[in-house]
């Protein structure tokens, strides 16, 4: 019995100590530390962040770096934690967010300081592509600093399966549909592998871009955009036909399984962002042998982009420290430290091209030469409400298979976004 009491005492003491330790980190000397919030906790992302932190600490000897990363795919958990901190007016010094319209809620709530002046001071307006700057400008101001660029419209394919089916990597939507049909007839492979519901959203944005063209797609994200046009109907019908070639068990897999099906030879095609590349490298797949890539058919010359960026919250405890962090992540050096590790390309146009090999080298060239379209699924084009509306519409489409209802729901989602 006695031992029980000692144990209980020890545990409660430990609890008290942890509690005070947690409290302590918030109340530290503001000059002395900078807290950066992100969802980079594993793989290349964490390695990239660690390299940035190392650099930051070397450059800013007096400032302790507090890495407040919350685990969870594409930040869904992190955003929950962040939301409560912002509402409690206890923001970190800087937090990660997708550049673009996803930040709208934070901006409207007055959580973010505009960084337009910071851009001017640092000369960032000259080094980021003007199209990108235009697409991340919200109500005349820019609110975050993009550290990297990912591409959403990539079609990954298995060269062996394509050879077996006797098809070439398609370049137009019509060719793509033919290729899918041929693969289905000639091989046992899944024509187009798909994962959980959000990967269907991801597929939809590529098809919308391909079918409507860059201008038509970009127009969808302007205020008062019309989603009820025959062009959108046609795009959705194409989506419907292509969706028919996906695996029936898609809902039970996440994107990793869906993408890996391509390198394993279980699937011919998969449309997934270029973060799939890190996965392929992790499983030891060889480019040209286990996988190949082209832009999603019909979208060559357009970069359907998404970007991780950092912000300056209102009432950040250490704005100078945050500014030092933003300077680092926006600098050529910082972006070249981070991106080769993360498996993405720098948003800046003056990156050191020799650091990027294979797919990334191609992507860097494409980024500098392509027109740009913002990804809605990954926060660049649509605010949270519209994005959720689209997600629900696609979810209902997966359940019921009704294209007309899908379009109606998309129109509603666009209307509610306003």
């Amino acid at each position: 019995m006695r031992r029980g009491w000692t144990a209980a005492l020890a545990i409660s003491l430990a609890g008290v100590l942890t509690a005070t330790a947690c409290g302590g980190s918030g109340g530290e000397d503001a000059e002395g530390s900078v807290e950066v919030f992100s969802w980079w906790t594993g793989g290349g992302e964490a390695a990239g962040l660690d390299a940035l932190i190392e650099r930051f600490e070397a450059d800013n000897a007096g400032i302790a770096f507090n890495n407040a990363a919350v685990a969870g795919g594409s930040g869904t958990n992190a955003q929950g934690v962040l939301e409560s901190r912002l509402q409690a007016n206890e923001p970190p010094d800087s937090f990660q967010g997708h550049a673009g319209a996803e930040l709208m809620d934070y901006i409207e709530a007055g959580y973010l300081e505009p960084l337009t002046e910071f851009y001017a001071e640092q000369g960032l307006n000259e080094v980021f592509p003007p199209e990108l700057l235009e697409q991340i400008t919200l109500d005349g101001e820019i609110y975050s600093v993009p550290v990297n660029i990912h591409r959403s419209n990539v079609l990954w394919y298995n060269p062996g399966v394509l050879e077996e089916a006797g098809v070439e990597p398609p370049t137009t939507l019509a060719e793509f549909e033919d290729a899918l049909a041929t693969v289905e007839e000639e091989t046992d492979a899944i024509p187009l592998s798909l994962g959980a519901q959000w990967t269907a959203d991801h597929l939809l944005e590529s098809i919308l871009l391909a079918s409507l063209g860059t201008e038509g797609y970009n127009a969808l994200w302007q205020p008062g955009a019309d989603w009820s046009t025959p062009e959108v109907t046609e795009a959705l019908e194409t989506f419907d036909r292509i969706y028919a070639y996906t695996n029936t068990d898609a809902g039970a897999a996440d994107w990793q399984e869906a993408s890996q099906a391509v390198v394993d030879g279980d699937a011919a095609f998969n449309i997934m962002g270029d973060w799939a590349l890190s996965l392929f490298q992790e499983v030891g797949a060889v480019e040209g042998e286990d996988y190949g890539y082209v832009p999603t058919p019909g979208t060559d010359g357009t970069y359907l982009w998404l970007s991780d960026s950092f912000t300056l919250p209102v009432n950040a405890p250490n704005p100078e420290g945050a500014q030092a962090w933003l300077e680092l992540v926006s600098s050529q050096e910082g972006q070249d430290i981070f991106n080769p590790l993360k498996g993405s390309i720098p948003a800046r146009t003056d990156a050191d091209a020799s650091l990027y090999e294979g797919y990334l080298a191609d992507a860097l060239t494409d980024w500098q030469e392509s027109t740009m379209a913002p990804s809605y699924q990954h926060g660049a084009a649509a605010n949270n409400r519209q994005k959720s509306g689209i997600n629900d519409a696609v979810g209902v489409y997966i359940r019921d298979g009704d294209v007309a209802a899908l379009q109606e729901a998309l129109v509603t989602a666009a209307g509610e976004a306003g």
């Binding site: 955003q79 709530a109 519901q197 068990d249 039970a252 279980d266 979810g395």
Partner: protein, 296 residues
Amino acid sequence: MRAKRDWLPGLLLVSPSIILIGVFVYGLIGWNFQLATSDKHTNIADGEFVGLDNFIAIWSEARWPGAVWNALVFTVVFVLTALLLGWLLALLLDKGVRGEAGFRTVFLFPMAVSFIATGIVWRWLMNPAPPDRAVGLNALFQDIGLGFLANEWWLTDRWGMAAMALPAIWQLSGYVMALFLAGFRGVSEDLREAARVDGCSERQVYWHVVLPQLRPVTLVAVIIIGHMSLKVFDLIVAVAGRQLAADVPAIYMWDQVYEVRDPAMGATAASYLLLAVAVVIVPYLVWTLRSERKAS
């Protein structure tokens, strides 16, 4: 009136918990209802009182009716099966199996596992991949020549949530068994003996003597399992992620608050959840109060 020193120390003793529960449970429930009856559809809106508008509007949302349907299917399958299975296991143990303690532990073990862990394992077991790529239970069915049993599990149209109830049943029927076993043991041996002397068969003993006395235990089991089932969130996220195919009110609520960022709709979903749980719990509270009063 009783002397002050009779009731004051008692009141002082419980007042911290009364205050804390008042603020953190009932205060927050009140706040939730206030949100649900307002038009605070963004985090920055002021939120004017709109009465029950949200409670009506939610039924025309694309997802909500499906989520409610899913929760109903899940609850019915989960509660009934877990009760039946738990009762059956308890009955078998009560009949005096050799190594009863061992069985009891084995049946109770799943309860020690978290819903997340259970979900991850069952996510694999219930993989709906077609025959050539089958894994988990579908592969097992094929290997033992029962390939026709292979199915799409929780991805089945409309009734998929019945499959989703399997992991929950696996996890909690042992707990129900423990409740029933305690119930069985609570029925005094004298009563059973008396019934046997009066010429009851063993089945009649159970049906007419033991079972009627299990009513309180059954009620407790239904309430505990039922309210867990209505609030289910973690298990489903672990098995299916947050997808429409396996949508339930708790997931809908999470999405409204953290994805759409619509506090009023999130609070409305929360209110419906609370009401649904109340429908299960309140009769139980009334019943306990009444029996306690009877006892005193």
